[in-house]
Amino acid sequence: MTHLHVPDGVLPWWLIGLSLLLGGVAVLGVLRIGTGAWRVRFHSRIGVAAAALTVALSLPIGAAHLSLAPLAGMLLGPAGGFLAAFLANASVAAVGHGGVTAIGVNGLFLGLQAAAGALLFRLFRGPLGVRGGAGVAAGLVLVLASAGALAALRALPLAPDADGHHGHEGMDWGVWVVAAFALAVTIAEVHLTISVMHFLSRVRTDLVPGGLEPPAAAPGSPA
């Protein structure tokens, strides 16, 4: 529930077109970043991160799965994370996981999570350290995304509902069931994000904005 996998045939045409246009412009913008060898490495990292996200998006944990979008954003920056998440969504759509016409909506939603994860991590990494920053950033992003997904699914205009017969008819307990499930998945994803970022901050400091986490001070050592 931290992300949408809207399938084909659900959204109205105007929303499909608008989201594809916005997504296309954003993707083209990201592809123009950098030059030469740096650009080649940047794109290969995006490809690998998108593959990791594809695996995460396709492995079920019960009826849900992780997204790892904030983690991709923290590793690749807002632009790279956005593109990785967008491409991961497109690739899972090709095997029926989310619609091919809904690539724009699904990709923008997940891509914005990656971008927000990157920005929030940069904000909190200084005062809270790698683990604290990653945890707070991923937690904030995923809770907001879950709330956004719930609200969107309650309010989205559905394709055959052309007579203006919109949502909010659902069962109230249904919302709580979905919210509780989303919270459980969010906790699992935050835990994984923290542990991966902590590991990477020790073995490949260049991948983690802010570099190596300072080692814990030994007992009795001067501050």
């Binding site: 996998h5 659900v10 095997v95 029926g96 989310g98 091919v100 016409t101 979905v178 991966v196």
Partner: protein
């Protein structure tokens, strides 16, 4: 599991010799696009069911596992369970609309899985290549290759972790997997860049060359769209 499913789809597409496989990649991609359009245009269950039946017939001709294709139609089910919890009225209001949406989503998933079961990812990229920026096509190629690297390596690491009694979803294991794939793909990309090859330029002309067997997937796509349009209420 995704690795087995991806392996199966990839193997079917790469090794198949059926009449559908021998049609040009362009015709198969066009047929998939026409079929998805037909499904989205349909306003009733019946034309969608007929389109799904057409897809199953083609999957049988292509030896692409019609039963598995039928199972692929249930991929969007979790989304609809959530949607039903949020939107379905307690008196069953919206139920008919939901079932139509489920039909559409399931049939569309079948069309896409059939496309990838009969057409390799490289061929799909060849067809879409003229529409995509060069860098995007290169990144998609890296994505596809590293997907298999990650899945293979994850399988090995998972087995080792279980035999040592370690829970396999932990930072060092997932982070190590990412590092392994990052380093491998970066090396490949940098070597190709130094040699002046930023993207292995595939032989696009072959993907667009018309063949007699193109009629098979194209006829399915056109029939699906015609059926859907004919079923529309005036």
């Amino acid at each position: 599991m995704i690795d087995e499913e991806l392996d199966r789809i990839d193997s079917l597409a790469a090794t198949g010799t059926s009449p559908v496989h021998r049609a040009s990649p362009l015709s198969r991609v066009l047929a998939a696009a026409l079929t998805v359009a037909a499904i989205l245009v349909a306003e009733e269950h019946r034309p969608i069911a007929v389109v799904a039946a057409l897809l199953l017939v083609e999957a049988t001709i292509a030896w692409a596992g019609p039963i598995r294709l039928l199972l692929a139609a249930f991929t969007p089910l979790p989304f609809f369970i959530v949607l039903a919890l949020l939107r379905l009225g307690s008196d069953g209001e919206n139920a008919e609309m939901m079932s139509l949406l489920l039909f559409r989503a399931g049939a569309s998933a079948m069309a896409l899985v059939l496309l990838l079961s009969t057409t390799t990812f490289v061929d799909v990229l060849r067809v879409l290549g003229p529409l995509l920026p060069r860098d995007l096509a290169a990144t998609l190629a890296v994505l596809y290759r590293s997907l298999f690297i990650l899945l293979r390596h994850a399988g090995h690491v998972g087995e080792v972790a279980w035999t040592r009694g370690v829970f396999p979803v932990q930072g060092p294991i997932v982070g190590g997997l990412l590092l392994h794939a990052f380093e491998r793909m970066e090396n490949v990309a940098c070597v190709m860049h130094v040699r002046g090859v930023d993207l292995p330029d595939p032989d696009r002309a072959d993907a667009f060359r018309p063949r007699p067997l193109d009629l098979l997937p194209l006829a399915r796509g056109v029939a699906a769209l015609a059926l859907s349009l004919a079923s529309l209420r005036p």
